[in-house]
Assembly symmetry: none
Homo-oligomer: 157 residues x 2
DNA sequence: GCTGTTTTGGTCAGATAAGGTCAAACGCAT
DNA sequence: ATGCGTTTGACCTTATCTGACCAAAACAGC
């Protein structure tokens, strides 16, 4: 306990605790200056401590007026569907495994029927192409991305 | 949301929202003065945010009494959203065209922000693979499938 | 009707202002 | 001395903004 990364981490969590929302917006450059470190240090902190598995979502924008926005998710990461998605979806996944995952998420009550239908439209109701392995890889990516978004931003929220 | 371009964009959309028609007329120089920027900044905003793909048509005239007129293309909701999806999404589609379509559907009010975010997660926030053409084909299929579902089964319905 | 001047807007290359990536160096505990 | 988490720096990508120069439309005086 005492590394620069730890300090940056606590600083950001402090901002989250004190702010009115579960969200903070900072600038990489400004943060790096405040802590007198290389800007890429900030990326290191984000990628090791503010991951989805730990209950955070990070959103960024480049260019003039760029920013880094950190959202804190309210669920317990362990029990949530998020954890399951990370466990079940690897680099590649076949249709059946994907369908099973969606069914389980619906069962758990973390995914509603409409969301499930969207996911099915996006990843199952698709013809096969001539590149089955690439297809499994793309399916995994799309599935993970869309489920992550749905779970981190539930409907009506 | 903090860049000058963003402010100019919202200002113009505000004028469109408050005006009696789906059309607004401004002067480039006057706008540039209001926002204290180079006149060409206005062209930048127009060319990045008020494109046909996003549902706007811009008409200009030079010389004394010159103007910049922005029309917001207004389609009938519901049915035409579906129509647009069929028009815009062919056998294959690149990222930019897909993004523009989604932005336009949001603008039209037939797709809410969360659905849009899901679609973006599914089709844009994806790394490139080594098979770009196949990727464009899969993107088109996924995009069409998911948008059709979302439009035919709107949230809260 | 011409012609030149003024008033607009258009274009495009380059500057500026973010943030991202990755490999190598560092440093401490085992 | 090796391994892992940390830290840095060089280089890249994206988004925005400006300025110099160009083009068209209107207008004024002939």
């Amino acid at each position: 306990m005492g590394s620069l990364s730890d300090y940056i981490e606590s600083y950001l969590k402090l901002l989250l605790d004190n702010g009115p929302h579960d969200c903070v917006e900072v600038q990489r450059r400004e943060l790096a200056e405040r802590f007198r470190c290389a800007p890429s240090q900030i990326n290191y902190v984000l990628s090791t401590r503010f991951t989805v598995e730990r209950g955070y979502v990070v959103e960024t924008r480049r260019g003039g007026g760029g920013y880094i926005r950190i959202y804190r998710l309210d669920e317990e990461p362990e029990t949530s569907g998020i954890h399951m998605v990370y466990e079940s979806v690897g680099d590649a996944i076949d249709r059946k495994a994907a369908e099973d995952l969606v069914a389980r998420l619906v069962d758990m009550g973390v995914l509603d029927e409409r969301d499930a239908a969207c996911v099915r439209a996006a990843v199952f109701d698709q013809e096969d192409t001539e590149a089955p392995e690439l297809e499994r890889i793309i399916r995994a990516r799309v599935l993970r991305a869309i489920l992550m978004l749905m779970l981190t931003q539930p409907p009506t929220a």
